[in-house]
């Protein structure tokens, strides 16, 4: 199965299940969780089902495109089901079958793995899912997000698309994956890995990055003060990304790391609080809709 077909098959499967197929967010993020369709929508009582691909940047994991298994940026396929359905594991396993994986001839395991994001004030319990010994999915029941309890709890299903595809195509280098007929993953992404590694490890201007962090933080606070929750969140994401760049550059000391993370977390929490207040003021629109669907 080609890389793009993998995405198409997952889109098809989750759309049929009833998910909104959202599009990738256009601000730099480290994981699909940071997309507002997850970070914000998992808060509060409204039901929510969404699936999307998110390009996720991890500057510190970059390897100049020289390591066949490591990337400074990669694609996550993210699914949120809120509240978590009773048969969520079966629903997930059927998605593997939709990818042509015959469970009868493979070995699937749910192995304990908990998840935490200190910058987002989020954590959950769950598993990594193994396919024949390969970790292909992160499966998490969100307990808290933005420092607030998730009620109801959602299930987050995150497929590592490159890993899964490497396994299906039996490729030993991520860059050899066939993305589209005749076009490799490397063709699309290798140069990017090389240049961003050089930038992140060698060239990023630390002084400027620090200035940006401060500026983004101020902008986020100012937007919050003006009651503009969503713009504020974008600037929180930018703070987080700048922090990751500084960290990859080796410019963040011990004390500073804790303090920068705490500044991100504080903002994320404020955004989460304001978002909830905003939805409540709107009368939890999706709750109303769900009630109408049931009524009809």
């Amino acid at each position: 199965m080609r890389f793009q077909e993998l995405i198409l098959a997952l889109d098809r499967y989750w759309a049929d299940y009833g998910c909104v197929i959202a599009q990738p967010y256009d601000v730099e993020v480290g994981a699909g969780t940071m997309h507002p369709a997850t970070f914000l929508r998992v808060l509060g009582p409204e039901p929510w089902k969404v699936a999307y691909v998110q390009f996720s940047r991890r500057p510190g994991d970059a390897r100049y495109g020289e390591n066949p298994n490591r990337l400074g940026a990669y694609y996550q396929y993210q699914v949120i089901l809120k509240p978590s359905p009773e048969d969520v594991q079966e629903v997930y396993l059927r998605s593997l079958e939709a990818l042509g994986i015959d469970l009868r001839t493979h070995d699937v395991r749910f192995v304990e793995d908990d998840w935490e994001s200190p910058t987002l004030g989020a954590w959950g319990l769950g598993w990594e899912v193994w396919l024949d010994g390969m970790e292909i999915t992160q499966f998490t029941y969100f307990q808290q997000c933005g420092g607030m309890d998730c009620r109801p709890v959602c299930a987050e299903i995150t497929y590592g698309l490159e890993r899964l595809c490497m396994y299906l195509q039996r490729k030993s280098s991520v860059f050899d994956l066939e993305w589209a007929p005749g076009i490799s993953y490397g063709e699309l992404r290798h140069r990017e890995e090389v240049e961003w590694s050089r930038y992140g490890f060698e060239r990023a201007d630390v002084q400027r990055l620090r200035t940006w962090f401060d500026a983004y933080e101020q902008e986020a606070s100012a937007a919050l003060e003006a009651g503009l929750v969503l713009p504020a969140y974008d600037y929180v994401l930018k703070c987080s990304h700048v922090f990751n760049l500084l960290d990859a550059r080796g410019a963040v000391g011990v004390q500073e790391r804790a303090s920068l993370m705490a500044r991100c977390r504080r903002l994320a929490r404020q955004v989460a609080e304001r978002y909830l207040a905003q939805r409540e003021a709107m009368g939890w629109p999706l709750l109303r809709e769900a009630a109408e669907v049931r009524g009809a």
Partner: protein
């Protein structure tokens, strides 16, 4: 009698949660049955990642009847002058459902009253269980809990189905939106079901047909045997620690072990790295022959033989990717020497508020130098120990340890050796974090032991100094483990350093924590007591030894063991009698320094006996031959007895009284040089027939 079956169906429970949950389930059901008068029959449990099962094969059909006495009206109200029951008595009897002539008269403190003996019929078992089983299920505790969906229950993992049956009857109740019933589920892939259970006695048959090996003991035995056989087929033996076997047992419902292979070229990687990748990351069993790894692994599939070839090939592919990763990190790491990584330690936090790892390394160097001086190490040993202290944390900055944190120390040792550091340095680094687990052993090398001691003492002093002592079961900094490892090493290597001096010196490494010695010491002493008890020493022997001045942990252990051994000999009664008689009468206020003197025959007799044993006792004590010392002291029984027979110790003349107390005080002092026998709980039978 009917059979009770409860199956709690869950989403995959973490392997480490299952056994403790089964223990609670068994104890909980036993307690429930006993409390409810439902007998104390057999209770057994089974567990897989997806189900916790408890079965009581024989439960009575109903509770036993009970009789309760209820007080009614006063006798003078209950009967008229002719002795006939009044309306009050009739009403009371009616309300209690007994005949009026069965009422009994009793006198109480408040006067004479009538009583009814009311028979309370035992309730049917299903009714009792319907009320009690939900609490049994929700009352299980897990190391970590979570919520799911819109439910408020916190549990190890989401609860998905419940089977609760008494023979063929369902015991109906609801927990977190799940209604109990007779429907179970089978193996996720092989035969998912649902499957109905007609009768509790058929449970094992139904799950077996549903392709689940529900008895974890049987799964463990199958895995162990197959793993052994598969390794033997290639002329090797599997490396199969009990913890990995247990984990794998609770990762599968239908185990099928199989063997895979990898490119022998990877065998050039250090053995420790290969084992870590296979065991810790893939839960595979490595295979070795005569201590050398073979290019095979044994994995356990959750499923049967169908498609096994594809599963094998997939696992081999995954392992190859993992090993290539490890090789990449290893080769990257080897581009610079270990010592070149020291600088990076300045960017790593040791523990919040306790500075960086770099600072810890500085403290370790200084503590190592102190240990070297205290123990009069040779110049070479001292140099090696300090160098090992300097390098022992450098591997925290390597790629391999970043990827496999459990290899900290091991990797440092490997790299130090490759860098051409002296073998003693490399060995000390490699060993200093041992014992890592309860299954592991302490460092074997002397310098590894000393470095391990310095590392633990530093961690304990710092963490306890800023108030991080563990509370309850939570011990996030592993301080209990650090303390017991410290004692274990000190004891095993017989390190003659007073524990209090070690802790004080370690605390001095932290500026500003100098005044926290009391808190730190309280914890260390508490753990020492617990550690001694865990070694199986009796409580009173431990207290007797801790009750006198002691110095090193090894010394403490020697004394405790000597005391316990000597206590089992016939001479103990003599020793105890001599000590006990002297100790009981002794008035500490009358004691003073200086040699006792004798003025009469009886006093001279005792003084001579003391003078005869004293040099021998002191020599034995100074060479740690405590049992011999105790035996020597038991010879004082007769002189002490004669002394008590001949003189009145508490003589009216204060000078005489003081002299006699001084003599007995010397007896007590000599015994207390080893242990305070007054803390022993000695049963009369222990002292023989006399």
């Amino acid at each position: 009698m009917p059979r009770l079956l409860v199956e709690i169906g869950v989403e995959e429970m973490p392997a480490r949660f299952v056994l403790p949950a089964l223990e609670q389930l068994e104890a909980g059901l036993r307690a429930l049955l006993a409390e409810e008068g439902l007998g104390a029959g057999e209770v057994r449990t089974f567990g897989t990642p997806r189900r916790l099962v408890v079965i009581a094969p024989e439960v009575p059909e109903r509770q036993e009847d009970a009789v309760r006495e209820v007080r009614g009206p006063a006798v003078k109200v209950a009967y008229d002058v002719q002795g006939r029951p009044t309306q009050a008595a009739l009403g009371f009897a009616r309300s209690q459902g007994v005949a009026v002539d069965s009422l009994e008269r009793r006198s109480t403190e408040a006067g004479e009253y009538v009583f009814a003996r009311v028979r309370i019929p035992g309730r049917p078992t299903p009714e009792v269980l319907r009320e009690r089983l939900p609490r049994l299920i929700t009352g299980l505790s897990f190391p970590k809990t979570m919520r799911w969906g819109a439910h408020e229950l916190r549990y190890g993992r989401p609860l998905r189905w419940i089977v609760a049956m008494l023979d063929d009857q369902v015991i109906a109740f609801e927990v977190a939106g799940v209604r109990s019933g007779r429907t179970t589920r089978g193996h996720r892939v092989l035969n998912p079901g649902p499957h109905a259970i007609p009768h509790a006695a058929e449970y094992e048959r139904v799950v077996e047909e549903a392709r689940v090996v529900v008895d974890h003991r049987r799964r463990a035995a199958q895995i162990r045997e197959e793993v052994r056989r598969l390794a033997a087929e290639v002329g090797g033996e599997a490396i199969a620690p009990a913890s990995l076997l247990e984990e794998v047992t609770f990762l599968v419902e239908h185990p099928t072990p199989f063997r895979g292979a990898f490119d022998p070229d990877f065998l050039r990687l250090p053995r420790e790295i290969l084992i870590t990748v296979m065991q810790h990351h893939q839960r595979y069993f490595p295979v070795e022959r005569e201590g050398r790894l073979l290019p095979y692994f044994i994995a356990v599939r959750d499923g049967d033989e169908v498609g096994l070839e594809q599963v094998r090939e997939g696992n081999e592919w995954v392992l190859r990717a993992r090993l290539e990763d490890a090789r990449f990190f290893y080769e990257e790491d080897r581009k610079v020497p270990l010592a070149a990584r020291l600088e990076q330690l300045g960017d790593m936090v040791f523990v919040e508020r306790l500075g960086t790892v770099r600072e810890k390394v500085e403290r370790l160097r200084s503590l190592a130098a102190w240990l070297a001086a205290q123990l009069r190490l040779s110049e070479e040993e001292r140099t090696h120990l300090v160098r090992a202290a300097e390098l022992c944390k450098a591997d925290l900055a390597t790629h391999v340890v970043g990827e496999f944190p459990e290899l900290a120390g091991t990797v440092g040792g490997l790299y130090a050796r490759l860098d051409g550091e002296p073998e003693a340095v490399a060995e000390a680094i490699a060993e200093h974090l041992r014992p890592r687990t309860a299954e592991d052993t302490p460092p074997r090398s002397w310098l590894g032991a000393l470095l391990g001691i310095a590392d633990r003492a530093d961690t304990l002093a710092g963490c306890l100094g800023i108030g991080l002592a563990p509370t309850g079961s939570a011990d996030p900094y592993g301080l209990r483990r650090a303390a017991s490892s410290l004692f274990e090493i000190l004891c095993l290597h017989r390190v003659r350093i007073p524990l209090s001096a070690l802790i004080r010196r370690a605390l001095e490494g932290y500026p500003g924590l100098g005044d926290r010695l009391e808190e730190v010491w309280a914890f260390v002493l508490g753990r020492l007591r617990a550690w001694l008890l865990e070694r199986g020493y009796t409580h009173d022997a431990v207290e007797a030894v801790l009750g006198v001045p002691w110095s090193s942990v090894a010394d403490l252990v020697d004394r405790t063991e000597a005391l316990i051994r000597f206590r089992a000999t016939p001479a103990f009664a003599a020793l105890y009698e001599a000590f006990d008689r002297a100790h009981r009468i002794l008035d500490p206020a009358l004691l003073s320094d200086g040699e006792p003197v004798a003025q009469n025959e009886a006093e001279r007799d005792l003084l001579e006996a003391i003078r005869a044993v004293r040099p021998k006792v002191e020599a034995y004590v100074s060479s740690s031959r405590y049992e011999a010392a105790l035996a020597e002291l038991s010879g004082l029984r007769d002189p002490v007895a004669r002394f008590f027979d001949a003189v009145f110790v508490n003589d009216p003349d204060p000078e005489v009284r003081r002299r006699r107390h001084l003599l007995l005080g010397e007896v007590v002092r000599l015994v207390r040089g080893i242990a305070d026998l007054s803390r022993l709980a000695v049963a009369p039978g222990e002292l023989g027939a006399e």
